[in-house]
Amino acid sequence: MAGDNDHAGPFAVKDCALVAIATGRKAQSLTELRHNLQTIHEGCIYYHFWGGLLRPRFDDPQYVNDFAVWCHYSLHDDTLAERLAVVDPTDFEDLEGLRQELIEIIDQRLDELERSTWVPREFQFHFIRSQIVVLDTGVTLEAPEELQEIVPTMPLGSIFYHFIDARRRSLQHTDDFRAWLRGCSENYKPVCDCLAGVDPYFKTLTELREQLADALRRAFQAVGS
C-alpha cells in the first residue's frame, strides 16, 4: 500500500491499533528458526521488526528486533544477535527481501557453528503476526507548520502509523511526515533531514513522540517559520 500522505494535498491524520495473533509456529533452535523463517507468514516478519513498539516491553532494548533479542537472551549467541540487530528493514523493497536477508545471515552463522544450540521449551521463539486496524481521526493538516502543534498531542497509535508503519507502506520506505513535506516544497528539506535523524528503534512511542516534537520545533525554527 502506498503512503496516504505522499502528495502535496492536506495531511490526513490516522490512528491505528494492532492485534497480535499467534501462528502456533515455534523455534527451539537456530535451525528451527531458520526453517520457520523460510515459510512463515510475512506478517510475522513485520510484527517481529516493528510490532514491539506497540506491545509490552521494558526499558531501552539492546537489540532492535525480536530475532536479535531471542538470539541474545535465549540462544546466548551475541555474534548473531549483533548481525541481526543491524538489519534495517527499510533497506529492502519488501518483506520478502527482508526475509531472505535474515535467512542469509542465519545460514552464515550456521556454517560457522559446529552445532545448532537448543533452548529450553520456555525460551522458544513464538512466531506472531498481527492485524492492524487503521482509523481516520478526522483531523487534517493544511500546512506543514501545523505539524509542530499536532505532533506533541498525537495519539501514540498515530505516531506508530505515520512514523513506523509508513516505512513499510510508502514506496520510498520513509515516514509519512517526510513524504508529505517533500511533496509540499523543497524548502522543507531541512525539516526532513531533522526527522531523518530520529531513530525509531530505541525508544518507547511516548519518547519517540517527544523526540519528534522537539525535532520539528527546532527544524521549523531553523527554516524561519
Binding site: 491499533a17 492485534v19 502456533g24 509490552p56 526499558d59 482509523l135
Partner: protein, 417 residues
Amino acid sequence: MTSIEDYAEIVGEDVVQHLRQLAEPLKGLKIVHVNSTRQGGGVAEILDKLVPLKQDLGLDARWEVITGDEAFFECTKNFHNGLQGKHAPMPDSALKVFESTNERNAEELRKILEEADIVFIHDPQPLPLLQHTPNRKGKWIWRCHIDLSHPYRPMWKYLRRFAIQYDASIFSLADFAQPMSHTQYLIPPSIDPLSDKNKELARSEIEGARNRFDIDPERPTMLQVSRFDRFKDPIGVIRAYRLAKAFAPALQLVLAGGGATDDPEGEVVLAEVREEANSDQDVHILLLPSDAHLTINALQRASDFVMQKSVREGFGLTVTEALWKARPVIGGNCGGIRLQVVNHHTGFLVNTPQGAALRIRHFLQRPEVAKEMGRKGREFVRQNFLITRDLREHLSLMVALIMGDEERIALEMKASA
C-alpha cells in the same frame, strides 16, 4: 459508576478518544460475555469492569453467568487443574454432568446467544454452549485465561473438540496457544486502576487494615494474595518465609485469599497451609470474602513487597495489582508472571522456595532497590496492563472479526466529537 472519561486522567485523553473511535463501527452489535462466576477470581473482576465500559462506549454489551451444581464445579475445577498440567483423569460421569449442565444453560440463554453478534466464552466451563446453539448467527470467541502451555493431554483432547468449533480464540500469551485452525489472538488481561482493588487509599485505611489483622507496622511485611490453590504454591511461600526469617527475625508474612464459587478445592488447600504455618504468630492467614477489594488493596499497600510464587499461572493479576501500587514482586518463573516481572527491573523471578528466600533477603537488605523496582513496575503497568489497553484490543479484535481476515483494516469513518 465509573465512566470511560474518568480514565483520561490516568492514561491520557488521546487514549480515551481512541477507544471511542474504535467503538464506533461496533455500535448496534449485540455483544455477550459468558463465564461461570459473578464473583471471585480474575475473570469475574475483569468482566465486572470491561462490560460496563463497553456499555459506556455505546456498545450493546452484556454479561451472563452459567449455573451448575457442586458436581459441575468439581468437574470444571478438574479441567482447570488438568489444562494447567496436573494429571487429572476424568470419569465419564463427570463429563456427562459437564455436558448436560452446558446443555441446560444453553437452553436458558438460548435467545440471548442466538441473537448475539459477538459472543465471548470465558474459560472451559461454558465451552460446549456453542454446540448447543445451532441457530447462532454471530461470531463466537473462546477466551482462555488459563496457562495452557503444558496441558494434561487427554483432557485437552476432550475439550479441544469444543474449542475448534469457535471462530477465534484469545490467549494471554503465545506460549498458551494450541494448534487450532481458527485465528488465535493474543491479549494479556488487565486491571482497573479506578476499582476498589486498585484506587488510591487514605493512610488511615491502610493503618486500619494493619490493626484489624494484627500486622506490626514497624516490622517488614511480605504478602501473597491468591486463592488457596496448589498452583499458587502457598506452601512454598511459607517455606521461603522460614528460610528468610532466619536472617530477618522481624519478618511477617500475610497470606490473603478468598474462595470463588467455582473453586471447591480451596478448603482442602487452606487446611494444608494452616498445618504448614504451624501456628506461627507472624504468619497471618486471612480467608477473605470475594468482595474484600478494599481490604486487599490496603494489604498490598501495607506490604514492603509482594510474592506470587505460582508454579502455573494464566496471567497473575495480583502481580499487576502489586506493581500498580509500586510494590516490587517476587514471582514464580511461569506463565504471565514472566510478562510482568521483568527480572531485576520490576521484581525477581524465582523457581524454588530457596530462590524466593534469597530475593526476600535482598529486598530486606536493599530497600532502595525495592523502591526503585516498585517505581518502574507502576510505570510498566500504566503503559501496558490497564483496562484501557485491554478494551482497545478487544475493540480492535471485534472490528477485525467483522471486517474480515485482512492483515490491514481501514475504517472509513470520522472521529466522534
